[in-house]
């Protein structure tokens, strides 16, 4: 399975959840397959999906899933100690690890070589770190949501992309409807 197939398999689980989605193809794929006001699409700023998601989770009660990539986590490695030391049990970091920089032409990342992101997350002090295969992503995420524990999921999948259109939504509209939906659900 490639990332777009993993995302498709996750839709029944994440469609009604607050999702902060990584820059580039992941956001474009999610936007194409299941645009929701609960989705925050990153149009730029590689690496900060986990930081934004943690920030949202820490200040309110709704569950938040940050969908990140191995390349983006490598860009912002400092995020893992920050997550580990500021536990938000309504936060899930889902790293779709295809061992490559998918949005820029599938150049290999170090996560696809010697570096284990789940081992790094554990070493940083994260307590619930789960590594799964692409086929098990939806069940693993479902279990993490049900656990009410902050969880880091590293989902290993194959490298590869499908053609997707860019997101032409205005960034302020993306942000505004996400904020409004959070406000409504928090009552």
């Amino acid at each position: 399975m490639i990332r777009s197939e993993v995302l498709k398999s996750l839709l029944p689980v994440i469609s009604d959840e607050f999702v902060v989605c990584n820059i580039g193809l992941p956001s474009q794929e999610l936007h194409m397959m299941d645009d929701q006001p609960t989705n925050f699409y990153m149009l730029g700023t590689m690496g900060l999906s986990s930081s934004i998601g943690l920030g949202v989770a820490l200040v309110q009660n709704q569950k938040v899933i940050s969908i990140d990539g191995d390349g983006s986590v490598l860009t912002n490695f400092g995020t893992l100690p920050t997550i580990a030391n500021n536990v938000a049990d309504n936060f899930i970091l889902l790293i779709i690890d295809n061992g490559s920089y998918g949005s820029t032409g599938d150049q290999p990342t170090y996560a696809g070589k010697k570096t284990s992101l789940s081992a790094v997350a554990t070493a940083c002090g994260c307590e619930n770190v789960v590594e799964c295969q692409a086929e098990d992503a939806a069940e693993t995420l479902k279990a993490a949501l049900a656990s009410n524990k902050m969880t880091i999921i590293v989902c290993k999948c194959e490298s590869g992309n499908i053609p997707v259109p860019v997101i032409t939504m205005d960034p302020v509209s993306i942000r505004d409807r996400f904020m409004n939906e959070l406000k409504v659900r928090n009552g």
Binding site: G44, I52, L54, G55, V59, R175, F178, N186
Partner: protein, 167 residues
């Protein structure tokens, strides 16, 4: 009231309840005050752009954030300021220690100091410079302005300003 306490009091007065910090010697006192504040959640970050990501999330979650950082880190935050904070129109007060100004003992700090205001100007970031202790009287208004216009706003605080604190 010490200038550190005044700064944190103005943060609280303006409903800032989520503050991320990357330390600087000049900022040690105000970071201690943030850490000890009951009204503010303090989350140290490992890098300033990471901190801006946390602040963006906190703002979307309904809280008013702020970042405390050193001017030497401005370079690593420029992409985040342009493509996240400004592109999505989010407010972000940035309390910045202005290293490399008068009274600076470390020559290397001057190398970023000479670019600091030029970079902030180039990025169209409203910028205020605290040199005398009384300049902090404007902080309350600067914070109100930041959350009125939904922009990142820089408050540069130099060595002379912080020296005033010790006198």
């Amino acid at each position: 009231m010490s200038v550190n306490k005044r700064i944190v009091a103005d943060f609280v007065k303006n409903d800032i309840s989520f503050v991320t910090t990357v330390p600087c010697k000049q900022l040690a006192g105000v970071i201690d005050e943030i850490e000890n504040s009951l009204e503010i959640f303090h989350i140290p970050s490992n890098k300033e752009d990471e901190g801006m990501g946390l602040c963006a999330g906190a703002f979307m979650g309904g809280k008013r954030p702020a970042i405390i950082m050193q001017n030497t880190a401005l370079g690593v935050t420029l992409n985040t300021l342009a493509t996240l904070t400004q592109f999505y129109r989010m407010p972000l007060p940035m309390l910045i220690s202005y290293r490399g100004e008068l009274g600076e003992p470390v020559a290397c700090q001057v190398e970023m100091a000479v670019h600091t205001k030029a970079l902030l100007t180039q990025f169209l970031i409203p910028t205020y410079h605290f040199h005398k202790e009384s300049d902090a009287d404007e902080l309350d208004n600067i914070l109100k302005y930041t959350f009125m216009c939904n922009k990142p706003v820089a408050i540069l605080t130099d060595a002379t300003f912080w020296k005033g604190e010790k006198e």
